[in-house]
Amino acid sequence: MSFFEKLMKIDRRIIFLLIFIGVAVPLIVALNFTLEITQPVRKVYSLVEDADDGAYILLSFDYGPSTKPEIQPMAIAVLKHAFERDYKVVCSALWPMGVLMCSEAIESVKEEYPNIEYGVDYVNLGYKAGGLVTINHMGKNMRETFPTDAANNPISEIPIMDNIKNLTNFDFIVGFSSGSPGLKQWVQVAHDAYGVPVAGGSTAVQVPSLSPYLNRENQLEGLLGGLKGAAEYEKLIASPGTAVKGMDAQSIAHLLIIIFITIGNIGYFVTGKYKQKRL
């Protein structure tokens, strides 16, 4: 058996171990690689930065713990930015797990902004099912979709909601999304039917399929894609968090995967396996 044949037959658990080490080491020993800002991230930043004073914004938490490592840093960064600019922040969720993701994110921002007051500066409206149809309903009548907040306080007793009748009362919407329902539905209804600017953060998996919405029409104003997008945003607001810290590991892991693909393909051609199977 040639060297490459042996190499091809390597136990997959060795690969598992390599990738584990490849991610763990750069987390412990920081390499401090530089980070470049991409345009879709900068556009989200400008949208938040340049809104009117006292703007009302809607943040939708459409994800759960499974993709928390990717999305939570974005949510925290955008929340910080919004509170820095003194916006009125309304939070909702199209995924049930999003409710707790939202309160965890706000909890972690509170250390930095201890003066924000529930019901005045921000509110957590909780979860509603129904995706597309529910967003459409919010476009007409937010108060009927959310008769209470997540803690069952009537909407009429929450001062921040006084000026909100429907989605068009928001200056813009930022969706944090890891699937369906999520950003796609926000674009389709909130932007395309009601004309409210929509930006968002999504898992890296969704970035390609959302990319056609980044266009002249600005169906999607901007997009934070995966941990990298979160890291860029953290850098833009000068508040590095878990995303920035994870970037070294991300780079090394990508390199490893590329090396795996390369060795695998060299082996494929050297051992002549490519000839064996032809239809």
């Binding site: 598992f16 763990a24 490592p69 399929s209 810290k245």
Partner: protein
């Protein structure tokens, strides 16, 4: 006490993490138990949040506090109960009434919204002057957008054989499709690695305290 319990929680978290990772070695009972706990808790969470966040505020409270103004809500309540009848084989056909409301609404809205957002707007976004642009890269980009999108659509055109010039165009379409799939591939790798990073940040940070969480 709360602090001790919080610390215990982190240890539980670490233990469960290893229970799942044990699948990487091979399928085993510890993994299976952890997996079933995951399924059970997830279902329980959905259940509770659906009641507390939807059925209570949008149905129960309006009906109990102000029945007169919300009489009409009795109808969706009945349809909802019909929906639950799906669990009882003998009368599960009544759930069809509820399902047809849900399916009809979704289909109607999806038809219109998809047509506008994913078809018409994407079509109008492809219409541009490919000779104008601030620099060569933008002009090249425009050509790519036009040729790539149209040849891609031709690839998915099923009413004509892929032969001759038409076949060649479809072939070109597949080139663009493959480049997109490559980018999607890259982004998916990125996403999966990020999740592993998140996990290791937890293990090394919150659990072992080697790095700052």
């Amino acid at each position: 006490m709360a602090l001790t319990m919080e610390r215990l929680g982190v240890w539980i978290g670490a233990a469960l993490t290893f229970a799942i990772y044990s699948f990487l070695y091979k399928d085993n009972p510890v993994y299976k138990i952890a997996e079933q706990i995951f399924v059970g808790i997830s279902a329980g969470y959905w259940f509770i949040y659906t009641i507390f966040n939807i059925l209570k505020p949008n149905l129960y409270t309006p009906l109990t506090s102000d029945f007169g103004n919300n009489t009409l809500l009795v109808l969706p309540a009945i349809l909802g109960i019909f929906m639950l009848c799906r669990l009882v084989p003998k009368i599960n056909w009544v759930s069809r009434y509820a399902i047809s409301v849900v399916v009809g609404t979704t289909a109607g809205l999806a038809l219109i919204r998809t047509l506008q957002s994913d078809v018409i707007t994407q079509m109008s976004e492809t219409i541009m002057n490919p000779f104008s642009g601030p620099n060569a890269a933008v002009i090249l980009g425009k050509w790519i957008l036009i040729i790539g999108t149209t040849t891609g659509i031709i690839y998915f055109f099923f009413s004509k054989k892929h032969t001759g010039a038409f076949g060649a165009t479809a072939k070109l379409g597949i080139v663009f499709l493959m480049i997109s799939f490559g980018a999607a591939f890259g982004y998916t790798v990125m996403a999966r690695i990020s999740l592993l990073i998140g996990r290791l940040q937890y293990l090394l940070g919150e659990w072992l305290g080697i790095i700052q969480p």
